[in-house]
Amino acid sequence: MSDRSSQERPGTTAAAGGPLGASTQLSPTPTKDTSYTMDELMITVMARQLHGEVLVSSVTALGALAAHLAKRTHAPDLAVLSTPESGMEVAPIPTLTLGQFLTDAQQGIPLTMEDIFDAIFLDRFRIWINPAQVDRHGHVNITAIGPWDHPKVALVGSRGIPEDTSHLSQILYYVTSHTPRSVVAQVDFRSGAGYGPDRMRELGQPGSPTLLVTNLGVFDWNGPEHTLAVVSLHPGVTAATVAEATPFPVALPDPVPTTTEPTAAELALIRAADPLDVRKLEFLSGRAAAEGLVNIYERERQALHAAVWPHRRSR
């Protein structure tokens, strides 16, 4: 890890172009590394959506790595946090239990919950949200499967999603498993506002959902009457695959663009920033997830010390 800073200094690696599908490779010409995994493709796509001088919260590993990658490539002014509320100006190493310790050890700037919500209300905040359900009109659900009063599965509660969807001009979602259970015609509970008629009446355009990245492709809500539409499909994914995984019609551009793949430089940045592979956990379930989790939990203090102590001493 000692060569992290030189590897990740902005400007020494080729930025992966601008917006999706408009990638222009700069010199030095990166060699195309085709051995990337789905988490790495999604992180790269997610990173390319982050721009400017805004706070980016790190709640999930994929979100943290997307913010980190963006900052080290095309968006050096991002103010990336290492926890949901603190650790500005540190490298957000994904961990299970050590986010606040990173803030402390790397002398990150602590923020307060008031700072976070003020940034949300002022539209100077971005977050990649990973909902349990997202629907055709851009509503999302992390509250309950089934009716709210007597849910089939009670999830966690709306948390801060209503704050985001009533104030931010860019709302970003991802799901790691695009199936008829996660991408649905209509969510069971609207934890976050989509393009329903009442939101347009009461909120207007601010807070409109912007983008959805899944393991099949990249989507927005620019279909007929603000419905889900394909922006690009990942390499190897066809329109038929999406139709099979989605229980409602999805608008398709013609021709359908293919998602730009990660460059070798982007892959190197992601892997160096997540030596424990915490990002892989978001794609696992059951026993594999439990084993992966224990493995990371037992190793992460050591990884933190290896990554952080030399950095702190050098200050």
């Binding site: 926890t83 949901p84 509320e85 603190s86 299970l96 239990t97 050590l98 606040q100 310790f101 803030t103 402390d104 050890a105 602590p110 307060t112 919950m113 008031e114 919500f117 949300i120 509250t143 309950a144 709210w148 009063d149 007597h150 849910p151 089939k152 599965v153 009670a154 999830l155 966690v156 509660g157 709306s158 948390r159 801060g160 999603i161 209503p162 704050e163 969807t165 009533s166 104030h167 509970f189 609207r190 934890s191 976050g192 506002a193 989509g194 329903g196 009442d198 939101r199 009461e202 909120l203 807070g207 956990l281 439990a290 989790l293 224990v294 939990y297 203090r301 933190l304």
Partner: protein, 287 residues
């Protein structure tokens, strides 16, 4: 004024039916030694107010001490859903009121500012306003746009775990602050548990990290490892091994009864011994 208390005195001070705000955030800095004592001996019928809740809500539900939960979130983060919260939500055995992270803060802040509500746009376009009848839509009296009135949340008690406290009730928080300062100000009575109680002179050296001020505090309990099995940055991390044991125990009534018997009481020293002793905790959890 010396506000030092024992944990059993805190339990005795909280009447049945009390509204209790709990600080911390999911697996971070929850006042678990106080919560365990309430789970063991508390009078119950409590109304809980949490912003980002976790084991404290789940344990008090699992020991049938709760009448209503006001929450923005209850869960175990990466470890999964909160088992007793999930069960109670699905069976409808306890009343729940879903708020959001900012509106819980605004509700507490309204109490601090002694106004009946604070306005916001939060919740518009979502079903939170459909299921939570505490909120009201109203027209902005100046411009006419639709706003949401967030009613004041007025806790009788706040329970907060801090890194350090002095006997007068000043408290130092060294990690993320969550919504603890608001809880302390809004509650009629605030009780701190602290990893260590130090003299007023020593505490004062922490400057801006003294986030909780004694004018809002009524009691101080010393409880080293008092947030366990949640974490207390920068001292110790969350004990995910114990979280796994908790989740496994919560699967059926017999194993849950055994868990409660082994770990839940109002003697913090007994709990630390039951989880293997301070030496073992240092090895596993100190960072």
């Amino acid at each position: 004024m010396n506000k030092l208390m024992r944990i059993d005195e805190v339990v005795d001070a909280i009447p049945a039916g009390a509204t209790i705000a709990v600080g911390g955030s999911s697996l971070s800095r929850k006042p678990m030694s106080l919560v365990r004592a309430l789970a063991a001996r508390g009078r119950g019928d409590f109304r809980l107010i949490v912003d980002v809740g976790g084991p404290e809500v789940d344990l008090l539900l699992g020991t049938e001490k709760v009448r209503q939960v006001v929450y923005a979130f209850v869960g175990f983060e990466i470890m999964g859903l909160a088992p007793h919260f999930r069960r109670a939500r699905e069976s409808g055995s306890v009343a729940f009121q879903e708020w959001t992270e900012f509106t819980v803060m605004a509700g507490l802040d309204a109490t601090v500012k002694r106004v009946p509500f604070l306005p916001t746009h939060v919740g518009l376009g979502t079903d939170v306003l459909a299921v939570n009848d505490a909120f009201r839509r109203f027209p902005d009296p100046f411009g006419g746009e639709t706003l949401v009135a967030v009613p004041a949340l007025a806790p009788d008690f706040a329970l907060i775990h801090v890194n350090l406290a002095d006997p007068q009730g000043n408290g130092v928080i060294l990690g993320d602050g969550h919504v603890d300062v608001l809880c302390a100000k809004a509650a009629k009575r605030t009780i701190l548990s602290a990893e260590r109680v130090v003299s007023a002179e020593e505490l004062q050296r922490y400057g801006r990290d003294v986030q909780i001020h004694r004018i809002h505090v009524d009691g101080v309990v010393e409880a080293q490892w008092g947030a366990h099995f949640t974490g207390c940055a920068p001292y110790y991390r969350a004990d995910l091994r114990h979280v796994q044991d908790y989740l496994t125990a919560a699967r059926d009534p017999a194993s849950w009864a055994a868990y409660v018997d082994r770990f839940i009481g109002d003697r913090h020293a007994d709990y630390i011994a039951a989880v293997g002793g301070a030496e073992a905790l240092i090895g596993r959890l100190e960072v």
